[in-house]
Amino acid sequence: MQQIPIEHILFVSTALFFIGMYGLFTRRNMITMLMSIELILNSVNINFVAFNKYLFPGKLDGIFFTIFIITVAAAEAAITIAIIINLYRTHKSIDVEDATELKY
């Protein structure tokens, strides 16, 4: 079990974070950008659990941070989808390039 060094778990979470970052840079569709944000939040959660397991095994603080991040991510996803549906109703499109009313 402990043969896996913590660096390998951190490699996975870092790679997941930057994959989400790539999606956030290249996609212009709001739903796929939301998916990328979910990937980024998941990589942070993996980090918290791994640090708690390997470096502070007697405590539970990383677990609590993970639970709170999952809660906030759920609230954020719900709000985002409400905004997307409202935007689709007025613009008939959920491309971020089409929503420019607040730009200038």
Binding site: E7, R27, L39, F64, A82
Partner: protein, 196 residues
């Protein structure tokens, strides 16, 4: 190499490959399904790290809640079989470069840092311990963040309803007694003139 580490590498490879497919596939519905597999991979990583409670929460909230919500909104907003336009080559190239550079930089920092464990006792997560510390008002308890997060969830719920609500339709009684439906915002003055 033991079976446990082999399982770890298989789970990690599946998670990363499906995440990469989720951000690059041109069809948005397939992208959501790949995201689903990637989140399941993360949940199995939690199972591998022996935090079963977090794994269960991950499956319930992400796989059961957020992905279903995303698929619903895909069905509501666009034809799910259509291909999305590809990103411009310049943008894709430069974001890939930025991401690769950031990854190399971060992992270089990680691999040079020496992580030292503070204690050697075994890592055991009991749900009863989590519950007791979560609702503990003394020094190391998490009662205040718990309450703040519950208020946040309530606010998010009300906010969702307010944002996604259609502008309400007011029923106005016209002169001859027949009901006339008029939207409240734009035509309020006209309707008032008609009724007066």
């Amino acid at each position: 190499m033991s079976a446990s580490s082999v399982i770890f590498y298989i789970i990690s490879a599946c998670t990363l490959v499906t995440a990469l497919l989720a951000v690059t596939t041109p069809r948005i519905f397939r992208s959501a399904i790949w995201l689903l597999f990637s989140l399941i991979g993360v949940a199995s990583l939690y199972f591998w790290m022996e935090v079963e409670f977090i794994a269960a929460v991950q499956i319930i909230v992400y796989v059961g809640g957020i992905v279903v919500l995303i698929i619903f909104s895909i069905f509501l907003t666009q034809e799910s079989g259509a291909k999305m336009p590809k990103p411009a080559l310049k943008r894709a190239l430069f974001s890939a470069l930025a991401v690769l550079f950031g990854f190399a930089f971060t992992y270089n920092l990680i691999s040079k840092h020496a992580f030292t464990a503070t204690s050697t006792q075994p890592f055991a997560v009991n749900v009863s311990d989590i519950g007791e510390q979560m609702l503990n008002p003394t020094e190391y308890g998490y009662l205040l963040p718990f309450e703040v997060v519950s208020i946040l969830l309530l606010a998010a719920m009300i906010g969702c309803i307010v944002i996604a609500m259609k502008s309400p339709v007011k029923k106005v009684i016209s002169e001859n007694g027949k009901g006339v439906l008029a939207p409240r915002n734009e035509h309020k003055e006209e309707v008032d003139e008609v009724t007066s």
